[in-house]
Symmetry: C2
DNA sequence: ATACATTATGTACTTTAAACACATTATAGC
DNA sequence: GCTATAATGTGTTTAAAGTACATAATGTAT
């Protein structure tokens, strides 16, 4: 008879470490976008075994918080961002994935608007890294990053989620640059425009780009309806620095 | 400073229950196919709180096994099947999802050939249930089932995985019945044939159905190449009862 | 033999995707 | 101011894939 089929009274009598012998953590692949590059927020690992290497932001799940709330807490603590877009991707649980003990970790990726949020990010050895320049990371975090990136790539053509990486207003060129940065391929400008406009995700703002060294493009925003559904207002920043 | 950033020496000094206070389990949504219905293998819950209700097959992850091995062990123990097709879907970790304590569970679905494997299944209050007749289950298992079914539905048109639910040889009608059972919709026979044959998944065996009360259809099998990639030989049964 | 059910195959129409051409509107240099 | 340049905005053409629907072929049952 296995532990899960014990009755409550029995499970309480059992030795604590019989059941609670694996730690549970979350790791966040925090994606940002700047300089036409997809970036990920990393922290210097302070474990001896991974001295000098970079790792994802993560933490143990607390006894009094839901699993799905843990990544929100990690993001709030480390970046000051609230209500970001988060998606669970996969749970990694190889025996020796963490040198300090048995830790099973659930990976989430999040999409945040890098432009609006510079202040808190540089503290504590936390830095943005271009995704395609990352060769290896501490723990199994490179695998986790690759898994999250693959899932992100699969999702972006069907669901309007990349707008979490952009400002409120953007041109189609900016949007295409973003898609190209994520997918790692070049896209045909005319076909891209057609695919996007057919999805009816965007609203033409009847405004033009300003201060660009070429012919200004029209500005668009994500439809309000979809914004509610797929995009999360970054309240903290909206009430502060944002337009 | 959080636990994950403690150095190894420090983590060992800390109280055990500071870190290992959440149990980790796996739950398996075991899909089978019979009588033109998609079925799932369930067990009678023996927890007081869910007396008389059905639940998924699951177990705590052991300290000396990888997370991804745990569902294989559960399937081997409960059904006797080895090398089945398994896919991780999602991890559920709400605080109160398990009445006996804090348990985070990772859900997997598996596809097994129900025809080849009758012997061990009936022991221990384990039964097959038609998926579309299931109203509620113990714990959050109905949510887990729905999540796995949704993921299965998304995957089957792009990846040749449903063949794990069928025997070696099958007619296009049998294959269509299976797709209809999984998707819960009726499909046009002629268009279905076209879509499947365009994918180049099948090999025409130049054999016909036998003992059917109508005109026999051609028999096909999954291409060997794909079988290696997506389908796992059910060794135990292949060496025993199977053709 | 005939009626009937099921398999097997084909055709026309629509939608989607890919490759490519051209006109428009701004900046920059002269 | 004029022109070259570079980016934006809008097409067309062609092929591929998806949908709706029709017909012929092959078996069983009466």
């Amino acid at each position: 008879m296995t532990a899960l089929h014990l009755k409550t009274a029995e499970i309480e009598k059992a030795t604590h470490s019989d059941f609670f012998n694996i730690a549970v953590s979350v790791d966040c692949v925090i994606f940002g976008y700047a300089e036409k590059q997809l970036k990920v927020l990393l922290i210097k690992s302070d474990l001896e075994e991974f001295k000098g290497m970079w790792s994802l932001l993560g933490d143990l799940v607390r006894i009094n918080e839901d699993l799905q709330e843990a990544p929100y807490r990690v993001l709030l603590d480390r970046t000051g961002l609230k209500d970001v877009y988060l998606e669970q991707v996969h749970t990694f649980g190889s025996i020796n994935r963490h040198p300090s003990g048995r830790v099973v970790t659930t990976a989430y990726y999040s999409l945040i608007n890098l432009c609006n949020h510079q202040p808190k990010q540089m503290e504590n050895e936390v830095h943005w890294h271009p995704v395609n320049e990352i060769q290896k990371l501490a723990f199994d975090h490179k695998l986790i990053l690759d898994t999250c990136l693959a899932q992100l790539r699969e999702k972006i053509m069907e669901h309007p989620i990349v707008f979490n990486l952009l400002g409120e207003k953007f041109s189609l060129r900016q949007l295409q640059d973003l898609y190209e940065a994520i997918l790692g391929v070049e896209l045909d400008r005319r076909n891209f425009r057609k695919r996007i406009t057919l999805k009816n995700w965007l609203v033409d703002l009847n405004e033009m780009e300003e201060d660009v060294p070429h012919r200004p493009g029209k500005l668009y925003k994500l439809r309000t309806q979809l914004k509610k559904e797929y995009q999360v207002a970054q309240k903290q920043n909206l009430e502060g620095t944002l337009v």
